[in-house]
């Protein structure tokens, strides 16, 4: 386990300390500590119901933890009002698991809406910048004029990513970026995550189940189990861990296959 120093460090994007969450009598988080450094691709993993998505929702201010502290860019976010959170929200982008694109708007309008809301760009520049973001996520140029219901699952994820990137955020949250995608589209997302980090200098925090994505894209991984972080480190460090939950996660049949694949490609 890493030691958590006191005081905010300038190169820490997200700093979670002692977060507790309860739904009724069920304890989801019992003192979660983790830090995401600026410029890294950080992944949060854990079994179903381990509270990964809940922790993500707490960091992006969609839900309040019962206790503990969450700092984003050095600012405490627990207890912030929507108005106080606005400057922070403009510095991060979120891609939701099922896309959450506005179904009444085209993809280009989905991206352009964010720009129109937060900047004073004229209409033609909004169209151009939206087209740039759509292209950056690897969608073809004609996807911009389509409605979300006309897109495939993988395209919808990319469109959602384009919207998350609309304001050039410093920090990007991805909730299950490859869930529900075929292996080819999923490996496209692996590549996209790496390219975005390198090309745009983003810090990326993602919640995922996808072991291939972890091996290929994540710099550091935290494993959530029994309400706590049971292991943090690079994938190869974690694959040598002695913790039962971590071992179960990485040495299950699928974990083993991904591990072998990762060694082969190295």
């Amino acid at each position: 386990m890493e030691t958590v120093p006191s005081g905010p460090a300038p190169n820490v994007a997200v700093d979670v300390r002692g977060v507790c969450t309860r739904f009724g009598s069920a304890v989801v988080h019992d003192g979660v500590d983790l830090r995401v450094n600026v410029g890294e691709v950080f992944a949060l993993v854990g079994g179903s119901g381990s509270g990964k998505s809940t922790l993500l929702r707490e960091i992006i201010l969609l839900q309040q933890p019962a206790g503990g502290s969450i700092r984003v860019f050095g600012q405490e976010v627990v207890g912030l009002t929507d108005e106080q959170a606005l400057p922070l929200r403009r510095r991060w982008g979120v891609m939701f698991e099922r896309g959450a694109l506005f179904s009444a708007l085209t993809v280009a309008e989905n991206v352009g809406m964010v720009l129109a809301e937060h900047t004073d760009l004229p209409a033609h520049l909004i169209r151009e910048v939206s087209a740039v973001k759509i292209a950056l996520t690897g969608l073809p140029a004609d996807a911009g004029a389509k409605y979300p219901s006309e897109l495939s699952g993988g395209m919808r994820k990319r469109a959602s990513l384009a919207r998350a990137l609309a304001l050039d955020p410093e920090l990007l949250f991805l909730d299950e970026p490859t869930a529900g995608l075929d292996p080819l589209s999923a490996s496209g997302i692996d590549e996209l995550v790496r390219n975005l980090r390198d090309g745009l200098g983003l810090t990326i925090m993602m919640v995922t189940h996808d072991l291939d994505l972890l091996w290929r894209s994540a710099d550091r991984v935290a494993v959530l189990g029994a309400g706590r972080i049971v292991g943090v480190g690079t994938m190869s460090e974690l694959s040598r861990s002695d913790d039962a939950v971590v071992r179960q996660y990485f040495h299950g049949p699928r974990g083993r296959a991904a591990l072998e694949q990762a060694w082969k490609t190295k």
Binding site: T119, D120, E128, V132, A135, L136, G144
Partner: protein
């Protein structure tokens, strides 16, 4: 003549971005010096400055980016577009002094091969739109007929095998559309009876014909108002709910899921609603008949001094049973209209949340419209039959 560099357009912009054009030959810009923050917040102003600059036809242009401190994708796009536009005019463009990470970003955009003009999506011309609207109205009518036909077939099949009817959803709908609607329908028709008696009281008193308030209230409520009022309330309460429910199920692909499991959407979603409303609507109509006449009775006593006993005596004489039956006959027809329009509109929902709202609106408007038109047709038919 020796060329000497001359500054021509130094301009400072909010957020600390700056563009300076320098020229080595005359007043036309050949070197651009960029400073400060090139981001989504400054490119609108930067673009205005760029548009004012005068460029030589062709020739070399140098862009000096050493002063840029912030460059995001929007800023990089403006830089990229400017360079590409210069290059398209036959000039050569070179970039100097850009920080490594900014140069990489510019490279990333260049590698995407973006079109310089973002595509503007325009709707079709007005004549085509008129045609499309007309066609969608006609085909909408056709689809509605097809839906009614499908539902009839499904209904016939269901009635042939009554055991296969889904009683649980039917009972649930009876509860939701009928029992739960008792307070509101009862209250409204009571008030309606009250108002009719009150309005008629003045006229009747003038002729000393107080007792005829019974004819007025009972005929109006039983023949016309209580079936109509019930149908309109149910259209607003339950018809809209049917559209919203089926529409949302369509958006979330639950309808498709039903089909793949081998359950007909008609069997599970439409037939129980139709049967439930056909059961409930006549019952509600009888109930509103009673509450409406009760309202009239209360007002007759208060305003005209017609006691309850006298009211009842007159009621038996004044109201022929046919008045009661003609009113009641309409109820199942109205029920069919409300249930079928509500369900049909639900199935017409496209993939978006907006569409659910639009179809729900249409559902209520159409069913109320059809109910009133049908009511008028009933009046004509009853007149012919002398009922």
């Amino acid at each position: 003549m020796p060329s000497r560099p001359s500054k021509i357009t130094p301009m400072s912009i909010d957020f600390g971005a700056e563009l300076t054009a320098r020229s080595s030959s005359g007043p036309l810009a050949t070197e651009l010096r960029c400073h400060g923050n090139w981001s989504v917040h400054t490119i609108a102003a930067l673009e205005r400055v760029l548009l004012q600059m005068r460029w030589p036809e062709g020739g070399d242009t140098v862009i000096d980016g050493s002063g840029i401190t912030v460059l995001d994708t929007a800023g990089a796009w403006l830089l990229h577009r400017t360079m590409a536009q210069r290059a398209a005019r036959g000039g050569t463009v070179s970039v100097q002094g850009l920080r490594a990470e900014f140069a990489a970003l510019l490279q990333l955009l260049a590698a995407r091969g973006l079109a310089l003009e973002a595509p503007v999506t325009r709707g079709p011309p007005w004549l085509e739109r008129v045609g499309q609207e007309a066609w969608s109205t006609i085909s909408g009518l056709w689809e509605y007929l097809a839906f009614v036909g499908e539902s009839t077939l499904a209904m016939v099949a269901a009635l042939r095998h009554p055991r296969r009817l889904r009683w649980r959803p039917i009972l649930h709908n009876v509860q939701a559309a009928g029992v739960d609607a008792l307070p509101i329908t009862g209250l409204l028709s009571f008030l309606m009876g009250l108002v009719i008696a009150y309005q008629g009281a003045d006229q009747l008193q003038r002729f000393g014909a107080n007792i005829f308030v019974v004819d007025l209230v009972a005929l109006a409520m039983l023949r016309e108002l209580s079936p109509l009022l019930t149908a309109i309330i149910i259209a607003g309460r339950s018809g809209s709910a049917y559209t919203a429910q089926i529409g949302t199920m369509k958006v979330t692909e639950e309808i498709d899921a039903l089909r793949t499991i081998g359950i007909g959407a008609q069997d599970l979603l439409v037939i129980p609603k139709v049967i439930a409303l056909v059961i409930v609507m006549p019952l509600l109509t009888v109930y509103t008949d009673v509450t409406g006449v009760l309202g009239g009775m209360v007002m007759a006593k208060l305003k005209l001094g017609v006691g309850f006993a006298a009211f009842f005596d007159r009621l038996v004489d004044a109201i022929h049973p046919s008045s009661y039956w003609t009113g009641l006959m309409k109820a199942p027809v109205f029920a069919l209209i409300v249930a079928l329009v509500g369900c049909h509109r639900g199935f017409q929902v496209g993939g978006s949340a907006d569409s659910v709202g639009a179809q729900t609106t249409t559902s209520v408007v159409q069913s109320i419209f059809l109910v009133i038109v049908t009511d008028a047709l009933f009046s004509i038919v009853f007149l012919w039959l002398d009922l």
